[in-house]
Structures are given as structure tokens and as C-alpha cells.
């Protein structure tokens, strides 16, 4: 697998629709995209389907990609992923009532992790899903995917100041939800 510094060279080859280059980009970024989508939909099967969809859209749109560095290519992919998730919820229209059965849970912290840790992580994930869409995007991209405010601002089409504010409100809402002081009906706009 090539290092991520070779991303731009791969993108250039991908623009010529070289199957190998596109497959390598898929290999490089599959986990990032899958992880983001997983935390947005909390369902393994749907996350796999949506991730698949993102990479097929990448093939469709690769020639319009203007990425000049590896991080901006990743941001471009996250934008596609974000749009796919939005479409997914639009189609399902059941965003507020996601079931969280066994199939939906990730293998958190490994089988040897204490039960308390697993429960805390599950609670936290459920709480994240109760945030507004934009708060979810900001929180997952910043703390789970490790993107900078500037990158998140680019993906969401907002200013960095707006992203800082979103994070603040997102964390505050999350805290209220975890403390049992907030529920789905108390989402901030």
C-alpha cells in the first residue's frame, strides 16, 4: 500500500480512470470513511453500503476533484461521505428512532475490555446520535477522525468560528444528554 504522501499522484492517475489507482485510493481511505459513516449511522451493514457508495461516487466525480494536498483530498471524500449520510437519513426519515441492537454495535475496546468501559462507550455513541446533524458532523470529524477546524469548515461549508461554536454547543448538549438532562426533543438548532 502506498504512503499517503503519494495520494496526489494516485489522484492524477485516478483522473485517467486507472482501475489500480482508484482501488489504491479506496484502500488508503476506506477506514477513515467507514469510521465516520459508522458513527453517523451506527449500523455495520448500512455503514458498509454507504462507504461503498462513497467510493463509487468518488469514481464518478474524481475529475472534478481539485485537491492540491493529501488532506484536501480526504476532506473532499468526507464531503461525499457527508452527503451520502444526509441522503441516507432523508431516505429513511427515521433518524430519531434508530434501533441499536447487537448488530449495530462495534467491537468496542476489544473483547477483553471491561464491561463498564463498553457500556460507557455505547452510551456515548448513542448520545452522539442524539445531537443535531451538524453537531454530530463537527464532533465526529474533530474528535474521532482527527480533522482540524479548517478542514471541517471546508467540508461543512462554514467558517472556522462557526465550527468552534458547533463543537462547544455539541459538547454541551452531549453532556446534558449523558447526565440525563437532555433528550431528542432538546436539540439545539
Amino acid at each position: 500500500m502506498p504512503p499517503k504522501s503519494d495520494t496526489l499522484a494516485l489522484v492524477e492517475r485516478a483522473k485517467r480512470y486507472e482501475p489500480q489507482a482508484l482501488a489504491e485510493l479506496c484502500q488508503l481511505y476506506y477506514r477513515d470513511i467507514y469510521s465516520y459513516i459508522y458513527y453517523r449511522v451506527s449500523n455495520v451493514q448500512d455503514a458498509e453500503d454507504l462507504t461503498d457508495d462513497v467510493f463509487l461516487k468518488m469514481v464518478e466525480a474524481i475529475r472534478s476533484c481539485r485537491a492540491r494536498e493529501e488532506r484536501s483530498f480526504l476532506a473532499w471524500l468526507f464531503r461525499i461521505a457527508n452527503n451520502s449520510v444526509v441522503d441516507y437519513y432523508r431516505r429513511r426519515a427515521v433518524r430519531n428512532h434508530l434501533p441499536l441492537d447487537e448488530k449495530h454495535l462495534p467491537v468496542y475496546a476489544g473483547p477483553e475490555a471491561p464491561v463498564e468501559t463498553k457500556l460507557t462507550q455505547e452510551r456515548l455513541q448513542q448520545a452522539i446520535l442524539k445531537l443535531t446533524e451538524e453537531q454530530q458532523q463537527a464532533i465526529i470529524l474533530r474528535f474521532i477522525e482527527g480533522l482540524s477546524n479548517a478542514e471541517i469548515a471546508h467540508i461543512l461549508g462554514k467558517s472556522e468560528g462557526a465550527i468552534k461554536s458547533l463543537q462547544h454547543r455539541g459538547l454541551a448538549s452531549l453532556r446534558r444528554i449523558l447526565e440525563g438532562r437532555g433528550d431528542l426533543n432538546e436539540r439545539e438548532p
Partner: protein, 256 residues
């Protein structure tokens, strides 16, 4: 106040995400501490491991899609940088504008063909004729055009008299000039090529005399002199063309 808090929290988060020890100070603050601790918990959430089979399946589909794109691209007329959605849209717009201008232009030229002097489209008609002449390079073709234009001026003169009882001296003069220009060119042409043009020019000059005589009958007396001079010029031209006049290279110019 809120912006300050956003900023302070962001500074704390940046330290936290970078593993900076200075974050302890922020963690101790009553307002920021709980939020930063929560952020630390989120950061500690494990990233789910994707199923390798799902990855391979996606890669296979991506390869397949790429091959289809390659096949579709081979049939394209334009390079890939000209086939993006935005560029295609821009090209389509430019093409639409060009077609619209061409259609409007063509429509105007067609509509101007029957126009008379004083009509707003008449300058278009004359300009089109000049362009036609500029785009015709063979002497025979130019002579043919001059004869056609002379015929048009004759028709215009007759229509003006018929519909408005008026005579336009400039049109009459132009008819004679076009005829003279045609004759000058015909005289330089070798015989096999000149023959049909000579015949046509002869017919035209005869027709000019006949038609202008009719116009004279309808015109008021103030135009008689002009028309007589024009008819005489046409007669001279006809004589030159039929060999009755001594010098074919000195065509007679009509009224000024």
C-alpha cells in the same frame, strides 16, 4: 462572552488533541473542564475496524466502474478537462449563444433580401453584398456578383416607382456602377469563361433600358433627365458588349 468561551474551549481542545500537558490547567476550570473531559472520552472511542471482505468488494466495484468510465471516455470527442460537468455546461451555453446569434444574423440577412432603400434592413442587404464580394476571389465570380447586384438595383428602382412613385438617384447610380464593374472584369477574362457572362451582361443592359423606359413613363418630369441619361448609359454598355462600340474598356458611367 460566548465567543471568548468558544475560543477558550477550542484552545483547550487543541491542547487535548495534541496531547499537550498544559491541558490540565484547562481541565481544572469549572466551565471548560467537564466539556474537555467529555471530548477526551470521545477521542478515546475506538475506530471500528472495517470488514476486509467489504473493502475488497468495494475495490472490485471501483475497478469495474473505472473500466466502464475508460470505455466511455474512449468514444469521447473532447479531452477529460473539457468534459467536466461545469465545463460542459459552459460550452453548451457558449454554443447556444453562438447558434442564437447565427440564427438571428441569418434571419436578418434573409429578411433584408427584399428590403428597399429607406428600410432599416437595407444597410444589412448592402453590407451582405460587400461581404459576398470580399469572400469571392475568382474574377468570374466577382463579375457574376456585380451583375446580380446591378439587377437588384434595377428591381429596387422599379419597385420604388411602383409603390412610392419615387426615384432614388443613388440606387440608379449604383446599378450603373455595378454593371460597369462587371463589364470591366468580363473584358479581362479569357473567351470561354467570358462568354456566358457577356451574354448575361448583354441581356441585363437590354433589360435595364426596357425597365427604365417604363419607369420614365411613370415618373414625374423632374426625373426624366436622370432617367434619360441612365438609359443612354445602358444603351452604350449594350453596344460595347455586342461589339457595336469601339472601346469595351471604357464603359459609360451614368448620372452623378
Amino acid at each position: 462572552m460566548k465567543e471568548n468561551l468558544d475560543h477558550a474551549l477550542d484552545e483547550g481542545l487543541t491542547r487535548l488533541l495534541a496531547g499537550d500537558e498544559g491541558v490540565e490547567e484547562s481541565l481544572a476550570q469549572p466551565q471548560l473542564g467537564p466539556l474537555l473531559r467529555l471530548a477526551r472520552e470521545i477521542k478515546a472511542l475506538p475506530r471500528p475496524e472495517p470488514n476486509p471482505r467489504a473493502l475488497r468488494a468495494t475495490q472490485a466495484r471501483v475497478r469495474e466502474a473505472a473500466k466502464l468510465k475508460q470505455q466511455a471516455g474512449r468514444g469521447g470527442l473532447f479531452p477529460h478537462w473539457l468534459t467536466g460537468q461545469r465545463v460542459s455546461l459552459a460550452l453548451a451555453r457558449v454554443l447556444a449563444v453562438v447558434i442564437a446569434i447565427a440564427l438571428i444574423g441569418f434571419g436578418t440577412v434573409v429578411a433584408s433580401a427584399d428590403s428597399l432603400p429607406h428600410s432599416p434592413l437595407y444597410p444589412v442587404k448592402r453590407t451582405t453584398e460587400r461581404v459576398q464580394l470580399l469572400l469571392t476571389f475568382s474574377p468570374g465570380g466577382k463579375a457574376q456578383l456585380h451583375l446580380s447586384f446591378a439587377e437588384r438595383r434595377l428591381n429596387e428602382t422599379m419597385r420604388l416607382m411602383s409603390c412610392c412613385q419615387s426615384l432614388d438617384d443613388a440606387v440608379l447610380k449604383s446599378m450603373l456602377e455595378e454593371t460597369d464593374l462587371a463589364i470591366k472584369i468580363i473584358c479581362t477574362l479569357p473567351m470561354p469563361e467570358a462568354e456566358p457572362l457577356l451574354s448575361k451582361a448583354t441581356e441585363l443592359t437590354a433589360q435595364q433600358q426596357t425597365c427604365l423606359s417604363q419607369v420614365r413613363d411613370e415618373a414625374s418630369s423632374e426625373h426624366w433627365c436622370t432617367l434619360d441619361e441612365a438609359i443612354a448609359a445602358c444603351r452604350c454598355n449594350e453596344q460595347m458588349l455586342t461589339g457595336e462600340a469601339p472601346d469595351m474598356h471604357q464603359p459609360v458611367v451614368g448620372p452623378d
